[in-house]
Amino acid sequence: MTRGFLAGLGVLLVALALYPAVATGYGLRVMLQLFMWIALAQSWNLISGLTGYVSFGHVAFFGMGAYTTGILIVKLGWVWGVAALAGGLTAAGLAFVIGWPCLRLKGPYFAISMLGLNEALRVLASYFEGLTGGGYGLSLPTLDASGPIYYAMGGVAVAVTALVHLIVTSRFGLRLMTIREDEVAAEAMGIATFRYKLYAFVLSAVGPGIVGGLSARDHGYIEPISVFPIVTTITMIVMVLVGGKGTIWGPVLGATLLFSFQELVWSHFISLHQLLFGAIMVAMVLAMPRGILGALRQRYGLPRTI
C-alpha cells in the first residue's frame, strides 16, 4: 500500500470520527447504515469471497445477534455495548455448530443449507414466544444513542475490513484461497481445508452478530421478519459482487456505491429495488464475475492488497 493511500485513509477516518459533531440526525443515520452494510458485506466476503463457499443465509447471524442483544437487554438489563458483543459471540457459536456439519459439504450443498438455516431460525424465533416475544416482537427500552451506535458501527466496519486485510496478506488467507481455487489439490498438499473453512466461517459470523445487535438497539424493536429478511443477504452478496469478491476494498466500494444509489435513487422506486438487485447479480456473474476491483486487478496486474 502506498503512503499516499494510507494518508488518505487516515484523513477519511478522522473526518468520519468528527462527523457526528456537525451531522444532522438524518445524516448520522445514513452513515451508520453505510457502516452496517460495509461490515456485513465484508463479512460475507470473508467466507464466500475468500473460500468460495457461498453463504445464502448470512443474515441468520445478523438475526442471531439481534435477538441475543435484544433478549440480554430486555430480560437481563445488560448494557447495549456488551450485549451487542455477546451477540457477536452467539453468532460465532451458531456458525460453529452449523459449520461443523455443513462445511464438510461441497459448495452447492453448503449454499442451500445456509438458505435453510435462515428460514429455520426465523420460524424458531416465532415459535419460542416466551423468549423472543414471537410474532409480536421484542421492544427495547427507549434510548437515544445514535452517536455511540455510530461509533460502534463504524468500529465494526473498520475492524472487519482490517481483519480481512490481515487475512489476505497472510499465509492463513492464502490457505483459505486454495479452498476456492482447488480444494482437492489443497488437501493433497497438506492443507486442512475443513478446519480453515470453519475458522473463516466462524470469523465471518462475528461482524454480522455484533452489527445485528447494534441495529436492534438502534431500531428499538425486533421481530422475526425484520431481523431475518433474505433481502439483507441478497444486498450483502450484490455489494460484494459489484465491488469485487476476494478483494479487500471491493466490499467497501460495493457497499458505498450500492448504498448511495439506494438512498439517492432507488428509495423512490422501492418496488423495483429487489428486482434490480436480482438483475445486477445476474449481470455481474455473466459480464464481470470478478467485480470492479477484481477486473481492475486482473487488467492492470494490481497486487492482492487492493
Binding site: 490457505r175 476456492r180 481455487e181 482447488d182 489439490a185 488437501e187 498438499m189 497438506g190
Partner: protein
C-alpha cells in the same frame, strides 16, 4: 519441520506397502486387490493401459479416495482412512495428471501456501526451488497465466516444498516440451540422489525405461506384472494388455 534421517540403503524396510487394496465405483472394480512394496530411495514406474486404475490407485494412496479394502502402510504405519492433508504431513507428496495449481495465486504464493513455520525460511526455500525449476523470472506471475509446461513445473516445485519422502508423479512427461522434459527428468533423478522415493505414472515408455528401476503394470485394476523395465516390457501378458486383447 525437519525430516527424519533418510534410510541409507535401498535394502531397508519398504517406505510404502500396499496389501490387497481395492476400490470400487458402483459395480466396477477400479482397483482390485493390488499389493506392492516400494523400497526407499528408488524410482518406480506404474504403467498400464488407459482406465487400468493407475490414477485411482494414486488417489487411494494419497487419501483422496477411500480404499474399500486392503491396507496401506507408509513408513511402517497404516495411512488408509487418513485425511489427505494428514498423509501429506507424514511425508508424501503428489502431482496431478491434470496439473492442479492454484490459478489466482502467483507462482511464489503457490509454493508458500503449503508451508508452515518460519515464513522467511519458507520464502528462501521457495526461491531456491523456483530457481531449481528455472521459473525464477515468473515468481510474481499468476499461476493461471502460465503455460501448461510452466504450471507443471510450479506444481512440481510445490510438491518439493513439503519436503516429501515419497513423491507420486501422475504423468510428469505428458504435454511438456522436449526441453522442459529433459529438465524434469534431470530433477527426478536428483530427487533420487537426495534419497527420496519416486513413484510415477507414465505413458511415455521411453521415460519409464530411462528412469525407473522397477515397474508395476496394472490392467483392469489388477497388478499384472512387476520387475525391471526391460523384463516387464517383454512380458507377454503385458504386451497383450497393451494391445487390448
Amino acid at each position: 519441520m525437519t525430516p527424519p534421517a533418510r534410510p541409507p540403503t535401498a535394502t531397508s524396510a519398504p517406505i510404502l506397502e500396499l496389501s490387497g487394496v481395492s476400490k470400487r465405483f458402483g459395480g466396477v472394480a477400479a482397483v482390485n486387490g493390488v499389493s506392492l512394496a516400494l523400497a526407499p530411495g528408488r524410482i518406480y514406474g506404474l504403467i498400464g493401459p488407459n482406465g487400468s486404475g493407475k490414477t485411482t490407485l494414486f488417489n487411494c494412496i494419497t487419501g483422496i479416495e477411500r480404499r474399500d479394502a486392503g491396507e496401506i502402510r507408509f513408513r511402517g504405519e497404516r495411512i488408509d482412512g487418513l485425511a489427505p492433508h494428514r498423509i501429506c504431513h507424514r511425508g508424501m507428496g503428489r502431482t496431478f495428471q491434470t496439473v492442479r495449481v492454484f490459478p489466482e495465486m502467483t507462482a511464489l504464493e503457490n509454493l508458500l501456501v503449503v508451508t508452515t513455520g518460519d515464513l522467511a525460511r519458507a520464502r528462501a526455500r521457495a526461491d531456491e526451488l523456483l530457481r531449481f525449476v528455472k521459473l525464477d523470472r515468473l515468481v510474481r506471475e499468476y499461476a493461471g497465466n502460465l503455460s501448461f509446461g510452466h504450471r507443471k513445473l510450479v506444481e512440481f516445485a510445490r510438491v518439493l516444498m513439503t519436503d516429501p519422502e515419497l513423491i507420486l508423479l501422475d504423468e510428469p512427461a505428458a504435454g511438456v516440451t522436449p526441453t522442459v522434459l529433459i529438465e524434469l527428468l534431470e530433477m527426478v533423478r536428483s530427487l533420487r540422489a537426495e534419497g527420496r522415493t519416486v513413484l510415477l505414472v507414465e505413458h511415455d515408455m521411453k521415460v519409464v525405461m530411462g528412469l525407473c528401476e522397477m515397474v508395476f503394470v496394472l490392467d483392469h485394476g489388477e497388478k499384472l506384472a512387476e520387475g525391471p523395465p526391460g523384463v516387464v516390457q517383454s512380458d507377454e501378458r503385458v504386451i497383450e494388455a497393451y494391445l487390448g486383447r
